[in-house]
């Protein structure tokens, strides 16, 4: 437990005592910044990286309480059970999770793509790996070199467990290592069977189910990225955080793709969010969007909303501007039905780049069963 430096900057923070709640204030600020920057179309990816950097610093130096991916889910349960009994703590536990989910209802999984430091670290590792490659792929092919490297890393990991844990007694955070083990197994299958990658993404739902189940049973299950997210310094958390980061060498954002339960919750909001990514039918299936997507959520103009992390890289990369990030919710179906009828009867084709007409087209053609998006 000892031996690690406490790098948190603010000694008394993040608690609703003395009428201050720095943690929630910091989250609110970073979300506002995210919503602002996601609306800027010029150099949007640059601004995204800036926000990622800022939030990484924020998580490292300011945030102390458990806002890890599991902690966020656990805190919702704990906080909800305290409403009416201990409102102060209920607010403290629910605050951050409710904020992230509320923003999720507005603009989908922006937390994953823009803020989450686990995602940022993985993205960084994956980017560094691609610097050394001529063919910049997100999933390494099943060649002998990548597999040998994975096997060596796995052996190193097992040795680290045996060596590092033999000389000490158990800690509650040790369960974090088991998630890292699962990730390694899934990783090897993702490399060996790249076509079945979609099936492996089901693990995120299973992961969420396990967390909820464990919370209901009262079992201590800890997030493998504990070490980064909150002020926990122990070997198991360090080891599992390293595994999550380094797994991005083989598959970019592997933790986000296959195991992150909170990412699963956030990406489900993509389907109902106010702001969504849509693809017009003018898409030529050039495949440029798939080349820039870190989580493999889009391929030749077809978006898997449940996997999307809302980084908007595809929107910025589309050469024909066919993929757009629009305010979906402001168009209610009923209000636009007359307009949709007008579109259907109109002999002229409207400007396909106008998101309003994209929606109208959906409204009109969706009725006849034709697939638009």
């Amino acid at each position: 437990m000892t031996g690690f430096v406490n790098w948190k900057l603010i000694p008394r923070t993040l608690i609703p005592f003395q009428e201050s709640y720095v943690e929630l204030a910091a989250f609110l600020a970073i979300f506002l910044l995210t919503l602002l920057c996601s609306a800027i179309r010029r150099h949007r990816q640059f601004w995204r990286h800036v926000i990622q950097g800022v939030s990484l610093l924020l998580f490292f130096f300011v945030i102390s309480s458990c806002v890890g991916v599991f902690g966020l889910i656990r805190n919702v349960f704990d906080g909800a059970s305290l409403i009416g009994k201990d409102d102060l703590n209920a607010f403290y536990l629910l605050g951050v999770s409710v904020l992230i989910l509320s923003v999720g209802f507005h603009s989908g999984a922006v937390f994953c793509g823009w803020i989450c430091p686990t995602g940022t670290l993985q993205e960084l590792v994956s980017k560094v790996r691609r610097l050394f490659q001529t063919k910049k792929r997100y999933i390494l092919p099943a060649g002998s070199a990548p597999l040998a490297a994975l096997a060596a890393a796995t052996l190193l990991f097992l040795w680290a467990i045996y060596d590092g844990f033999s000389s000490r007694r158990p800690f509650p955070e040790d369960s974090a290592v088991l998630w890292a083990v699962s990730l390694i197994v899934i990783l090897s299958f993702a490399i060996l069977f790249p076509r079945r990658e979609g099936a492996l993404k089901t693990f995120r739902a299973i992961s969420l189910g396990l967390i909820v189940f464990s919370i209901l049973l009262g079992i201590s299950v800890y997030s493998p990225v504990h070490f980064v997210f909150c002020n926990v310094h122990d070997r198991a958390s360090l080891l599992s955080t390293l595994v999550v980061m380094l797994s991005s060498i083989w598959v970019a954002r592997a933790w986000c793709r296959y195991l992150c339960p909170f990412g699963y919750v956030c990406s489900q909001l993509n389907r109902v969010a106010l702001r969504r990514i849509i693809v017009s039918e003018e898409c030529t299936r050039c495949g440029r969007c798939g080349e820039v997507c870190e989580v493999g959520a889009i391929e030749k103009g077809k978006i898997d909303q449940a996997a999307c992390s809302m980084c908007l890289a595809c929107v910025d990369a589309c050469p024909l501007d066919c993929i757009r990030y629009v305010n979906f919710g402001s168009f209610s179906k009923r209000a636009f039905r007359p307009a949709a009828d007008a579109y259907r009867s109109s002999p002229r084709r409207p400007d396909s780049r106008d998101p309003t007409f994209l929606l109208l087209k959906k409204e009109a053609k969706g009725m006849s069963g034709e697939k638009v998006f």
């Binding site: 040790d174 197994v185 299958f189």
Partner: protein, 489 residues
């Protein structure tokens, strides 16, 4: 080890005796708070909350080991509540009686020699405040609070009510209150009892959320003063005399530690911790400056200067500290002993905060330690979430015995969702006994004379972890197999 420790102990005590006589600011602190075998004035035997009171009586027969189970009714339990209050023991008339409050709304008086129930007093709410025993005008009185918002004073001999004090008037919407363990002290020649309580009412019409300290006259239950200081559940108070004045130290879940003046209830200082505080503060008198020790759910044990609340040192454990620290004098030095949810029991030097020893259990150490001198050795008993009660040597941290009272009564427990009771130790007729109300729904009495479970050598944790890793890998492979089989290609 014991031999060398004894030599070192005597050498060090001889050395430090001189120093202590001159430098100890807490000298004479206990005078106003000293208790006789007929009294158990506070949560941990002394208003200092230092948990190091050695209770000895030489009356009665030879004690035997026993288990007390009040009833088979366990349905009143809801997850998150406690099971028992911590016990208290004292001499009532010629008889030694053990008192313990329970989740089944009763307060039990038990014969510590045989485990027979002597009497019970039924209240309208769960009794989680440790009963305090005091002799007032020649009569043994028992003070405790119930979650039904009533504070009681009972005749300890037969359980008859002497007086009761209602802290909040009943109304339909008022919730259960949280009453801390009382502390009995002498103020200006009269005996008073201190309660800290939290009451709440979530209704829109009459919202209420207040935490107050309340001082009542022991004899008639008249209010001496009442002082609101917070809005979240308080810990049990710790009382000490500093610079001739009684000071009350109490923490609350809001993360603050408050120092109130004993005479007036006025707030003297307040200290904010980084996390919420569930454990009770303890007072270390024999260090300079005198320290108040507070464990928090930030995993920190902080030593505060009792005079002004400034931080003297801080120790970071691996997880929450819900266990109230105990303070013990060994070889002329003060040591702080406490457990943490990181599964360890720590012993720190009270002066510097340096670690003397660490003992690892296999479960969350939620209970507060009790420290006692037996057979010229300082021993310590502490319960852990691995369902064991450990008996350790306080000097070396070596495990001497372990007891297995029983498993958790209800299917599961959530880390830190409750405050479970802590054991106490007493010497009955020369034989040391440990009384442990446990979360298996029973009160257990263990004798130190009987060797319990032989200690097995632990298998390497690295191997256990590798086994878990293998099982996880197999589980993941199985799920992948199922997913590949049933998902479309």
């Amino acid at each position: 080890m014991a031999g060398s420790a004894g030599w070192r102990a005597s050498a060090l005590s001889a050395l430090s005796a001189v120093v202590l006589c001159v430098a100890c600011p807490g000298k004479g602190v206990g005078d106003a708070l000293e208790s006789s075998p007929k009294e158990w004035p506070s949560f941990r035997g002394s208003p200092l909350n230092d948990a190091s009171r050695s209770f000895r009586v030489s009356a009665g027969d030879e004690p035997r080991e026993w288990t007390f189970k009040p009833s088979s009714w366990t349905w009143g339990y809801r997850p998150g509540t406690g099971v028992w209050s911590s016990p208290s023991i004292g001499k009532v008339g010629d008889r030694v009686v053990l008192f313990v409050g329970s989740y089944d709304k009763n307060l039990y008086a038990i014969d510590p020699f045989t485990g027979e129930e002597l009497w019970r007093y039924t209240t309208g709410g769960e009794v989680f405040s440790t009963p305090a025993l005091a002799e007032v005008n020649g009569q043994s009185l028992l003070f405790f609070g119930s979650a039904e918002r009533i504070l009681y004073a009972l005749d300890a001999a037969n359980g008859n009510k002497v007086w009761a004090y209602q802290i909040v008037d009943w109304r339909y919407t008022v919730g259960e209150s949280y009453v801390s363990s009382p502390a009995v002290l002498s103020l200006s020649g009269r005996k008073v009892v201190l309660f800290c309580w939290w009451a709440h009412d979530a209704s829109f019409a009459q919202p209420l959320e207040t935490t107050e300290a309340l001082l009542l006259d022991c004899a008639d239950g008249q209010r001496v003063w009442q002082q609101p200081f917070s809005k979240s559940p308080p810990s049990s108070p710790c009382v000490a005399v500093i610079e001739g004045r009684a000071r009350i130290f109490v923490s609350a879940r809001d993360g603050n530690t408050y120092c109130l003046d004993g005479e007036t209830g006025q707030l003297l200082w307040k200290d904010t911790s980084r996390g919420e505080i569930v454990s009770s503060p303890a007072f270390a008198a024999h260090v300079n400056p005198p320290l108040v020790l507070v464990g928090s759910r930030y995993g920190e044990l902080r030593a505060l200067d009792a005079r002004d609340g400034s931080q003297v040192w801080v120790f970071k454990a691996g997880h929450w500290i819900d266990s109230s620290p105990g303070v013990v004098e060994m070889a002329g030095k003060s040591f702080v002993i406490f457990g943490s949810h990181d599964q360890a029991v720590y012993c720190l030097n009270a002066r510097s905060g340096g670690v003397r020893w660490t003992f690892f259990t296999k479960g969350d150490v939620y209970s507060s330690p009790t420290v006692f001198d037996a057979d010229h050795r300082t021993l310590l008993a502490i319960a852990s979430g691995d369902d064991y009660l450990y008996l350790l040597d306080a000097w070396s941290g070596r495990e001497l015995q372990r007891y297995r009272p029983g498993r958790f009564l209800w299917g599961y427990r959530v880390v830190g969702d409750s405050i479970w009771s802590s054991p106490i130790a007493a010497s009955l007729n020369g034989q040391w006994m440990i009384f442990a109300p446990f979360y298996d729904g029973r009160v257990h009495a263990f004798s130190l004379a009987e060797p319990k479970e032989m200690l097995k050598s632990h298998s390497s944790y690295g191997e256990v972890m590798l086994l878990k890793v293998a099982l996880t890998a197999v589980g993941t492979l199985l799920v992948i197999g199922i997913l590949f089989r049933f998902s479309p290609r």
